[in-house]
Amino acid sequence: MYLGDGGPFWFAVFLLIGIAGGLLFYLVAFILAPRARSAIKEETFESGQIPPGGKRVRLVMQYFAFLLLFLIFDVVSMFLYAWGASYYSFAPSQSIYAIVLLILLLPPIYITLKVAKSVGV
C-alpha cells in the first residue's frame, strides 16, 4: 500500500543511502588511515592532565526547569498547528481557545525566569 513509487518509499531510500554512505566513510578510513595505537593516546582528553574521578562522570544540571517547560510547550505548539492549518475556516471569535491556551502558558515562563534570576543563574 505504501511501498512502490510513493514519497515514503523515496524517504526510506534516502535514509538507507545516507546511513550506508556514512558507514562507508568508516570503511574507507579503516583502509586508508594508519592505526598506531597507544594507551596514552586513548586516555580521555583533559588538556594534558590525568583525568580524575571514576568511569562515568555525573554532573549537576542547571536549567532543568526549562527542559520541563520545553516538554509542555512542545505539546502546546503541536495543538496550535492543528488550529493554524485551518485558520481560514475559523472566525477570529472561534480562535479564543487557542489564544487562551497561549496566554495561560506565559505565567509559568515568567515564574521560572524569576526563580532563575533570584538565585542568580
Partner: protein, 371 residues
C-alpha cells in the same frame, strides 16, 4: 595504564560490511528498476531525466548537490571570515584562492586515525556521527526549489521537517555521553539546553506561515506567496526564526556547545578523523536545509519576477541567506548560556505569541489581501 582493547578494529569492519550490504540491497532490490528506467531515458529522451524522482534524490535537490554545496560553504565561510578579519584565508590548494581546500580537508580527514577513547561506549560512539549526518540531511527531502524540484511534495512537509530535526538533540546527547569526557558532556548539556530553548520559538515562528497558507505542504506555502511574501505579515516571526535558526545550528553568537576557548571542542572533543568530519559535514548540510526552509516559508520560495526561471530565484535567495548566516560569525562575540536561555524564553516566545495573536485577530483583512 590498562591493556588496549583487542577488538578495536572489528566495529569498523562490522559497520563497513553492514554499509556494503545495505547498498547492495538498495541497488539490487529497491531502486534497480528505477535505475534501468533512468538508463533507458538517457538514450531516448535525456531531458526527461530531470523530472524523475531518482535523479532528484541523487543529484539535484538531493545528495550530490547538497554535498557540493556543503563543501563550497566551508570554503566560503573560511574565506569570508578571513576577509572580515583582514586575513587571507585558504590560498594555496587548487590554484585560485584555495578553492580546492575543502576537498583537501576531506582527504586529510579520511586518512587520519580514528581514536576511540578509553571507557567510551563503542557502538554509540561510532554510530552517532552517521546519525547526526543523516538527521541533518533528511529534511532536504521536503524542501522545494521550484514547483517541480522537490523530492517529496508531502502534505505534511513542514511537520515532517520539524519531526526529523527533533532527533538532533538526542544524537548530540548520545555522542556527548558516549565519549565519556567531561568537556564533551558539558558541551552536550549546553547543546541540549540550547536546542530545547530555541525549538519552541522555531515551532511558534513557523506557525504564521502555516496559518496564512492554510496548509502544511511546503510547496503550497511557497505558492501562496505569489502576491505577498509572508515576511511582510510576520516580520517579528521571521526575526525570531532567524535567531532560533542560528541557535539550532550552533553558529557563532550561540556557539556555547562548541566554545573552543572554554570546552576544547564541545561535544565533539573526543572525535577525530572522518568521525569529526561527518559531524561537520552534517552541520553544513543542516545549514543548507534550514536556509531552504527559511526561504520557503518567509521569502516566497521560488517566487520572483518572471524574467528568470523559478529555480534561479530560489537558488539566489538560499545563497543570500547562507551568506548572511556564514558572515555573522565574523561580527559577533559569543554570548553566555544564561543570557541565551533568558533571551529564548523571556523575549523570543512572547514576541512569537504576539505575532500569532495579531494574525489571528486581523483575519478579515488578511483574507481580503491573500484570497
Amino acid at each position: 595504564m590498562q591493556e588496549l582493547d583487542k577488538d578495536y578494529a572489528s566495529s569498523f569492519v562490522k559497520y563497513g560490511i553492514v554499509a556494503v550490504i545495505i547498498l547492495l540491497a538498495l541497488v539490487l532490490y529497491l531502486i534497480y528498476p528505477y535505475l534501468l528506467a533512468l538508463l533507458q531515458l538517457l538514450f531516448s529522451n535525456p531531458s526527461a531525466i530531470l523530472n524523475t524522482t531518482l535523479f532528484k534524490l541523487l543529484i539535484f535537490p538531493g545528495l550530490i548537490y547538497v554535498s557540493i554545496v556543503a563543501l563550497i560553504a566551508e570554503w566560503v565561510e573560511r574565506k569570508l571570515v578571513a576577509r572580515i578579519q583582514v586575513r587571507v584565508g585558504p590560498f594555496y590548494v587548487g590554484g585560485w584562492e584555495g578553492l580546492l581546500q575543502p576537498i583537501a580537508d576531506l582527504f586529510k580527514l579520511i586518512t587520519k586515525e580514528i581514536i576511540i577513547p578509553k571507557h567510551a561506549d563503542k557502538n554509540i560512539f561510532i554510530l552517532s556521527p552517521v546519525l547526526a549526518f543523516i538527521v541533518g540531511a533528511l529534511p532536504i527531502i521536503v524542501i522545494p526549489y521550484s514547483p517541480t524540484y522537490v523530492i517529496w511534495d508531502y502534505q505534511f512537509g513542514l511537520l515532517l521537517y520539524f519531526a526529523i530535526l527533533a532527533f538532533y538533540p538526542l544524537v548530540v546527547l548520545l555522542a556527548a555521553w558516549s565519549s565519556n569526557n567531561k568537556y564533551s558532556f558539558i558541551g552536550g548539556l549546553r547543546a541540549l539546553y540550547q536546542q530545547a530553548s530555541y525549538e519552541v520559538p522555531l515551532f511558534l515562528a513557523a506557525l504564521p506561515a502555516v496559518m496564512l497558507a492554510g496548509s502544511f505542504s511546503l510547496t503550497a506555502i511557497a505558492s501562496a506567496q505569489a502576491k505577498v511574501w509572508f515576511i511582510l505579515f510576520a516580520p517579528l516571526s521571521a526575526i525570531v526564526f532567524f535567531a532560533g535558526m542560528m541557535a539550532e545550528l550552533e553558529r557563532i553568537p550561540f556557539d556555547m556547545p562548541e566554545a573552543d576557548s572554554e570546552l576544547v571542542s564541545g561535544w565533539t572533543t573526543e572525535y577525530s578523523g572522518i568521525a569529526w568530519g561527518l559531524f561537520q559535514f552534517g552541520a553544513y548540510v543542516k545549514l543548507l536545509a534550514y536556509s531552504g526552509f527559511f526561504v520557503t516559508i518567509f521569502l516566497g520560495g521560488w517566487q520572483g519576477p518572471a524574467i528568470l526561471p523559478p529555480l534561479f530565484w530560489s537558488l539566489l535567495k538560499v545563497s543570500i541567506v547562507v551568506l548572511i548566516l556564514l558572515s555573522v560569525r565574523g561580527f559577533f562575540p559569543r554570548i553566555r548560556i544564561d543570557q541565551l536561555v533568558r533571551a529564548g524564553w523571556g523575549r523570543l516566545i512572547p514576541i512569537c505569541i504576539l505575532n500569532i495573536v495579531i494574525i489571528a485577530l486581523l483575519q478579515p483583512y488578511i483574507v481580503s489581501i491573500l484570497r
